[in-house]
């Protein structure tokens, strides 16, 4: 009898904990599957789906310039995944990728000892870690980005934190990104507050804002696969895989936080601060949406 009771209790506890554990990402998983499904369907056959998804693009243009069908992994190339002229141009540019120069700088920084003799390797013995960022730190009760992790490493070793967005921090992240190539994004939602952070990021992504009253969603989900003049709008699926990115318009490497801040600004909003809570939550949500996709950063964009 006692044995049975223990057994039942144990089973209840185990199943309970499974249920409890799974509950934090139930909604996120549902969102992610619908998100992926939307893109897979949209880019399966743009000619056939022209009326539904691309009403303002002629079948002629689709046939000439669109690449399809796209597989899940193809989305890692952003706007280059579906738009042939962009893909061809960047394939040419990447014959010798411009990011190679800042990446080399990053590799030098990586091995250059701090004042205390340690290096970045002291903090990151395994460099292939980018697939886990951003993560929700249960102890700190907040989202931690790769940039913050780099600066944390510096501060722990008595160095000044680096300025976010570009320059040395982007170079260091590029080194980590290169080492993480091919790893699948694996963002987790470990507790209720993490789920809240995810929800906040999700809202920031879908809710219209700024004097243009548009959302990230309108450009990068609903209008992905369309053009605004010469801009081939990138699908939000796979939007974080190739970071940090060398942008020709920046003339150098920039981080995901920089890119996201710019994106929010383009809605006609005040530019949010990099590594601010909302912008990190947006990164958390957006990266979660690409869970399972292989990393391919750093890369080159316009």
């Amino acid at each position: 009898m006692l044995k049975k009771l223990i057994k039942i209790t144990a089973i209840t506890m185990i199943s309970g904990s499974i249920l409890f554990g799974a509950s934090f990402d139930t909604q996120a998983e549902k969102d992610r599957k619908a998100f992926v499904n939307y893109f897979m369907k949209k880019f399966e056959n743009p000619v056939k789906n022209q009326a539904e998804y691309f009403p303002y693009t002629s079948v002629e243009e689709i046939e000439k310039n669109y690449i399809y069908p796209l597989k899940f992994q193809d989305f890692q190339d952003g706007p280059l995944s579906w738009y042939r002229p962009s893909k061809e141009q960047f394939a040419e540019i990447n014959e010798f990728p411009p990011y190679e120069i800042p990446l080399d700088d990053g590799k030098e920084l990586w091995v250059k000892p701090f004042a205390n003799g340690n290096t970045y390797s002291t903090c990151f013995p395994d460099m292939a870690i980018k697939q886990n960022y951003p993560y929700f730190d249960v102890k700190k009760n907040k989202v931690v980005t790769i940039g913050e992790a780099v600066n944390e490493c510096r501060v722990e070793n008595g160095e000044k934190p680096l300025k976010y967005g570009k320059g040395d921090i982007a170079k260091i992240i590029a080194v980590i990104a290169e080492a993480s190539r091919g790893k699948e994004i694996a963002i987790k939602i470990p507790n209720e507050n993490a789920a809240k952070a995810y929800d906040a990021g999700k809202k920031l992504f879908y809710k219209q804002r700024g004097y243009l009253a548009i959302s990230c969603n309108e450009c990068h989900v609903q209008s992905s696969g369309k053009r605004i003049r010469a801009e081939a709008l990138s699908p939000a699926l796979g939007g974080t895989t190739h970071m940090p990115v060398y942008r020709v318009k920046w003339g150098g490497l920039g981080t995901l936080q920089r890119r996201l801040a710019g994106c929010v600004k383009d809605t006609g909003s005040e530019k949010p601060k990099m590594q601010s809570k909302p912008l990190k939550e947006l990164e958390y949500f957006l990266t979660y949406m690409s869970n399972g996709m292989k990393l391919n950063g750093p890369d080159t964009r316009k």
């Binding site: 809710k207 219209q208 804002r209 004097y211 969603n217 006609g268």
Partner: protein, 102 residues
């Protein structure tokens, strides 16, 4: 006496005419700027402020002494932007979920 009355009428007409040509929100430069600042601060804290609002207030503050009329116009424009930003945020709060792929 007649003359005084006439002067007062003219003065009143002048004043009211002045009030009529000013934007309705405020005609006092300091209060216009203060009001814009308050509204902007609220929009900013809710992270919904528009891109140019802050710089409009900054410009208004700069012109407050030299060109109060323009400063008021700028402050009122900033206040309008902040108001609209807050109002649209409230509106979109009700509808954004509909855009999530299901």
């Amino acid at each position: 006496m007649k003359k005084l009355l006439l002067t007062s009428i003219i003065a009143v007409a002048f004043l009211s005419g002045c009030a009529m040509t000013s934007p309705s929100a405020s005609n006092d430069v300091d209060s216009a700027i203060a009001s814009a600042q308050m509204k902007y601060d609220k929009a900013h804290s809710e992270m919904v402020a528009w891109g140019k609002t802050k710089s409009l207030i900054k410009k208004a503050k700069k012109l407050a002494k030299t060109d109060p009329k323009k400063a008021i116009a700028l402050a009122n424009e900033a206040a309008y932007q902040a108001d609209t930003a807050l109002a649209q945020s409230e509106e979109f709060e009700k509808t954004w979920q509909a855009a999530v792929p299901k």
